[in-house]
Symmetry: C2
Subunit: 443 residues, 2 copies
Amino acid sequence: MAAKKKAVRKATGRAAAARKPAPQNAFYAQSGGVTAVINASAAGVIETARKHKDRIGKVFAGRNGIIGALTEDLIDTSKESAAAIAALAHTPGGAFGSCRYKLKGFEENQAEYERLIEVFKAHDIGYFFYNGGGDSADTCLKVSQLSEKMGYPIKAIHVPKTVDNDLPLTDCCPGFGSVAKYVAVSTKEAALDVESMAKTSTKVFILEVMGRHAGWIAAAGGLAGSGAPGEPPHIILFPEITFDRAAFLARVDESVKKYGYCVIVASEGVRDVDGKFLADAGTVDAFGHKQLGGVAPYLADLVRSELGYKYHWALADYLQRSARHIASETDLRQAYAVGKAAVELALKGRNSVMVTIERKSNKPYKWAIGEAPLKKVANQEKFMPRNFISKDGFGITERCRQYLLPLIKGEAYPPYKDGMPKYVRLKNAAVPKKLPEFELKKK
Amino acid sequence: MAAKKKAVRKATGRAAAARKPAPQNAFYAQSGGVTAVINASAAGVIETARKHKDRIGKVFAGRNGIIGALTEDLIDTSKESAAAIAALAHTPGGAFGSCRYKLKGFEENQAEYERLIEVFKAHDIGYFFYNGGGDSADTCLKVSQLSEKMGYPIKAIHVPKTVDNDLPLTDCCPGFGSVAKYVAVSTKEAALDVESMAKTSTKVFILEVMGRHAGWIAAAGGLAGSGAPGEPPHIILFPEITFDRAAFLARVDESVKKYGYCVIVASEGVRDVDGKFLADAGTVDAFGHKQLGGVAPYLADLVRSELGYKYHWALADYLQRSARHIASETDLRQAYAVGKAAVELALKGRNSVMVTIERKSNKPYKWAIGEAPLKKVANQEKFMPRNFISKDGFGITERCRQYLLPLIKGEAYPPYKDGMPKYVRLKNAAVPKKLPEFELKKK
């Protein structure tokens, strides 16, 4: 009996092996603005793929995102040591280069899709992992449709990433937790600074943060204090709330009079009643050119001219999204997990989905990996719900605080040597080209 | 014999006790721009004073620097627990409030000096510890002269502090090492970011840092890379080097063409050939007001209009000098040590000196505490030596690197709770007033 069973099992095993597809290579690329932890997702993809050599041959990374696929500029990640790939988890920026390049529709530029298939065929690529935000999800969606539209079988999985936290159908986006921690900590620190100076010097401090359309990053500034009256920041400006000049000035004045100082966190995307960005408020330089200022200097000038208070302002720009030195441990774990899950989903045969993070509970914070159809993700933005913003529009609610807090939890320090973080630089060896050159259409 | 010896010793002890002055209280205050570690100096002063109760009664902190002395607004630090004082070492900002307020000369405003003596007498203050930079050293010097000029015996010791690193006669200034580490790490991180984006997006990144007259902070940006050709930052702009528009633009263009991108660290104090700050370059706002821009937006606009490259810029402002989360351990230790040494020098009877840091060796880095006469310190600025700046004026030399590296060494992370640093807030209980009010002269 036992021997017979074993024989049956063996036969089944053989049959399964016969059905099992031959290993194919994978393509991985980074797209859009990079984050402090996007390379952790890369590590998740590559390390997981390396564990499934029977199914996935090599992971080829696109140099500069999808452009690497179009121009056959592929990086052979199998040339990197296990230690180098592991070190990606503590290295900010995009290790393979990122891009801002959106594929056009099939009808508009079919040549691009034909080229992709050529490249995929030439390098036996059966898996496509694209690591980006909303625009990049659109690229991933289009690639995923190569199967049905052009008969090229591909498993295309989107690995979510965006500091803006504006992807739909996922509780949060890898990259956001770290920028949120940076903004919360920086606001707290700068607030202590201004408070000490306020008696005889600076009374108003403005920190401008990213978020062209959604106010998630600005909201994170709200974690600098407990939310009790008088605690900084005293004002948060969201893109979701129309800028009210009079109410803003009144609040600044009230804060300085009551607490001695006023700390403001302003989203770059704040707009006036006509829907115009404040940052575009008609400032001209010495030559009469329209100047692309920032929101912070605009607000600072308003405070100076209308209230006369001494101010300082900061514009964190890339510092905020590349600040691996103060990354959130939660964020780092999730960034790795979505990379790992993307490979696992592809191995299960999934196509045209994005990995998601599902919040299971708040206290204690528990999360799990999920998935969402790419069609429902691409080109959608998730804004701050109104009940995350206080009634007066200048702060966050307790509900928002409870949402944000777990995302900045834990410190995930990089290793240091001689006072500086040890960030890895990969070899990024090119895969030999097999095809003629392809010229990118000028956009 | 033995009994006799003991008796002699006892008698000597009694005689010494008789000569020993009765304990007096100490005044400590923070002045000028605060730093990530100025409170560590406060901890050094207070903890050391507490160890010498036979000589120093209480430490009274001035609320908002010297203003606290003038207005008799004193804080009783003896009301703070040992744990709270210890926590100062990991808390940025100025825990007692700082000020920008310079005492006038004796002749110009004798009333202020008479008032100081009144307050010191009323609260039995015999020690004066002033924690600040060059301007504050001037205040401390004037107070130290109360002894000879007005017959009030005081031991006034200056505790050095300035992110600008521009105090003379000390190898470095507490506060600088931490801002240097912040700038070096941030430049390195942002450089990785720009490098990943450069193919299709941002090619030029400008980080504006503090330093109105001396380029020490900008120089620290040079630690972001190894200094090898192509390593960021590609350009550093110092206040010590006159801005050469053509050479700057040529270097930016060369860097983008050779390496794909260009990272610039610019000191706020960069000036043109006429000695005018670039930040004051005649920009006007929508209402025609002259706008106090920054150097970074000015340079960005130059790059855009002359070279057409896409750029990003950041202005770290207060974030850089309050970033306790990335403080240098060397800096933290030195900040504490100068506070401790100030008390010890006062107890030795010293007056009118500043505590200094002396570099004993570079490899391994060794330093010791020294002292310098305040007369030689006040109102002096120490600029970058020319041999710390590369010949072309756009970078740092190896000699500069060897000077800077030990100062950023070691990480001194604050404790965290729920993702945020646990910074202490003192009670800052007021000492009951004994004197009539004193009105500060409007400056």
